[in-house]
């Protein structure tokens, strides 16, 4: 771990972090603050849900109860948008944190300094983790405060905690994918397309699998299947085995990325 490089990475990504945090904060506030109005329409919406094809409800993780509690309401948006938005930020940061130096050809400067490739990799990963956690903690705090304000009825905070643990694991998993993509995809252009594709894509694969029983299996390839946000299920809990497996895959992906990075030729 190299403190000099670590500080530099945080500073370099500061602006991006602020912009994305602002988006995610605004979104969290918007969802939670509209809940009291939605709740007022509860009966109408329940009637509407009854008329909707049940597959659509399942795909979106909604049922009649969704509209009656703030956590039910928040969870549908948390699962679709917030985690995907947070992951797009962390994954794209992961994809660029090393590759930007190669694209801008500054890796020649960095690697001619007295620092080993392992130190560079570790330091950059730690900076990436720091940035991701700042983002995650900001969002969770804002959600916590905002839900407390707009909840109306008492809230089961355990459910909130489970949701956010699941979100954290998904975020870390996607972030590690960002790193490995940047190691194997050339030319080092804009990774945003791939990143959005993977995060939103895995969400939709899961949604399709849940909606249509015929292609139920498809949801098994999506990490969203294992880290569920359907909070109204009777036994909603963290799936620890899946969590460990996803984190282990993430760690393995980072290790492969390091092996690739260690042997990389820096051609000017």
């Amino acid at each position: 771990m190299n403190w000099n490089l670590y500080q530099k990475e945080l500073k370099r990504n500061r602006k991006n972090l602020m912009i994305w945090s602002a988006i995610v904060i605004a979104f969290t506030l918007m969802i939670t603050s509209i809940f009291p109005y939605m709740k007022g329409m509860g009966d109408d919406i329940t009637a509407l849900m009854d008329k909707m094809p049940p597959e659509l409800g399942k795909a979106l993780g909604m049922d009649a109860n969704t509209w009656s509690s703030i956590l039910g309401f928040y969870s549908t948006y948390y699962g679709i948008y917030i985690i995907v938005l947070v992951s797009i930020f962390t994954t794209s940061t992961g994809a660029t944190i090393i590759s930007k130096e190669e694209k801008d050809q500054t890796s020649e400067f960095l690697m001619s300094k007295p620092i080993s490739r392992l130190d560079i990799f570790k330091t950059k990963m730690l900076a990436l983790f720091t940035l991701s956690m700042i983002m995650y903690i900001i969002q969770t705090t804002v959600a916590l405060v905002s839900i407390s304000i707009f909840r109306g009825d008492p809230v089961d905070w355990d459910v909130f905690a489970i949701m956010h643990v699941n979100g954290l694991i998904l975020m870390l998993f996607f972030t590690s994918l960002g790193v490995i993509i940047s190691m194997f995809v050339t030319p080092k252009k804009n990774f945003m397309g791939i990143v959005v594709g993977i995060t939103f894509g895995s969400y939709f694969i899961n949604a399709i699998g849940q909606a249509a029983d015929a292609v139920n299996w498809i949801s098994y390839i999506s990490p969203f299947h294992y880290m569920s946000f359907i909070v109204n299920e009777s036994e909603y809990s963290v799936n620890y085995l899946s969590a460990i497996v996803l984190l282990a895959i993430g760690a393995g992906v980072l290790y492969i990325s390091y092996l690739k990075y260690k042997k990389k030729d820096i051609v000017g």
Binding site: N2, N4, Q105, F109, P114, D119, D265
Partner: protein
């Protein structure tokens, strides 16, 4: 102890050769030249020594440390000046130089200030606003601030105006007197002649010769252009002359050998003008090393 010692160091890019079986020994305190035309493998050799490229085969030590295993130790003691400077656009020169110096130890703003003044570098300008030459100056300061034991310079004068080149050479001579070893890569022979004790010549990735500069001078070809008052009859050129060409009363030829016999020969002619030119490296290779 040797400053740099390479043993059959090779680097292939797929099937194409970067460098092949490079074996060099550079002593401590020496100013060693590395000459070759563009694309001959100079930068590949340097990048391999720095650990930017992973060698295909062979080995090397720098200041007694193995390049494959102790890169970090080596780079503490090296100052590297790249041929093309790519720095962080959003930083100012001062920020970059402070950032760079923190990799070696505590910041040394006074030394940065002193060197920047010497090279007339505006420290507050952003890297992205710097011209090619000014980026080079920033890189020069960057490679000197931590007082390295070994300087590796890859075409250091490209982009510098003659005044700065001169200042830079004077600084290098002073550093060398203090004991700094200098590895100087260039495709300009006169630079190498001015600074270096010995030089290696690299061509198509292979070392073709390691010469004392003195010997190189004697073997060096010169292009001679003479303008006569009247075209002489039966002119006998001195030994070592070749490729003579006449245009009316003008004569062009190439000369390889000691300079004295050539001057004696010129002295006895009835000339309006005489020009002795240093040929480009490529023609030295063509004319000398392939003979």
């Amino acid at each position: 102890m040797e400053a740099i010692k390479t043993n059959k160091l090779s680097k292939y890019y797929g099937k194409s050769v970067g460098i092949k079986d490079v074996s060099l020994t550079i002593n401590k305190g020496e100013v060693f030249g590395f000459i070759g035309p563009n694309g001959s493998g100079k930068s590949t050799a340097i990048r391999t020594l720095l650990g930017l490229l992973i060698p295909t085969s062979g080995s090397a030590t720098i200041l007694g440390h193995d390049i494959a295993k102790e890169g970090k130790e080596i780079r503490k003691k090296i100052g590297y000046l790249p041929s093309e400077v790519h720095y962080y656009d959003e930083m100012s020169s001062r920020e970059l130089l402070l950032y760079s110096s923190r990799f070696y130890g505590p910041e040394n703003p006074a030394e940065i200030e002193r060197l920047a003044e010497m090279f007339e570098l505006d420290l507050d300008k952003k890297i992205t606003d710097l011209s090619f030459g000014n980026k080079k100056k920033c890189a020069i300061v960057q490679c000197l601030i931590h007082e390295p034991e070994l300087l590796i310079l890859d075409e250091p004068t490209a982009g510098l105006d003659p005044l700065m080149q001169n200042r830079f050479f004077e600084l290098l001579e002073a550093e060398n007197k203090k004991g700094t070893t200098i590895f100087f890569s260039s495709h300009i022979l006169s630079e190498i002649q001015r600074l270096c004790d010995r030089a290696a010549i690299i061509r198509k990735g292979e070392i073709t010769a390691v010469e004392n500069i003195q010997d190189l001078l004697e073997k060096q070809m010169k292009k001679v252009r003479l303008v006569f008052k009247e075209k002489p009859i039966d002119l006998k050129l001195p030994p070592g002359s070749q490729h003579e060409k006449w245009h009316d009363n003008k004569l062009n030829f190439e000369y390889v050998g000691m300079v004295k016999p050539l001057l004696q020969f010129l002295n006895q002619l009835d000339l309006i003008d005489a020009v002795l030119e240093e040929p480009d490296l490529e023609s030295i290779f063509m004319n000398y090393y392939e003979r």
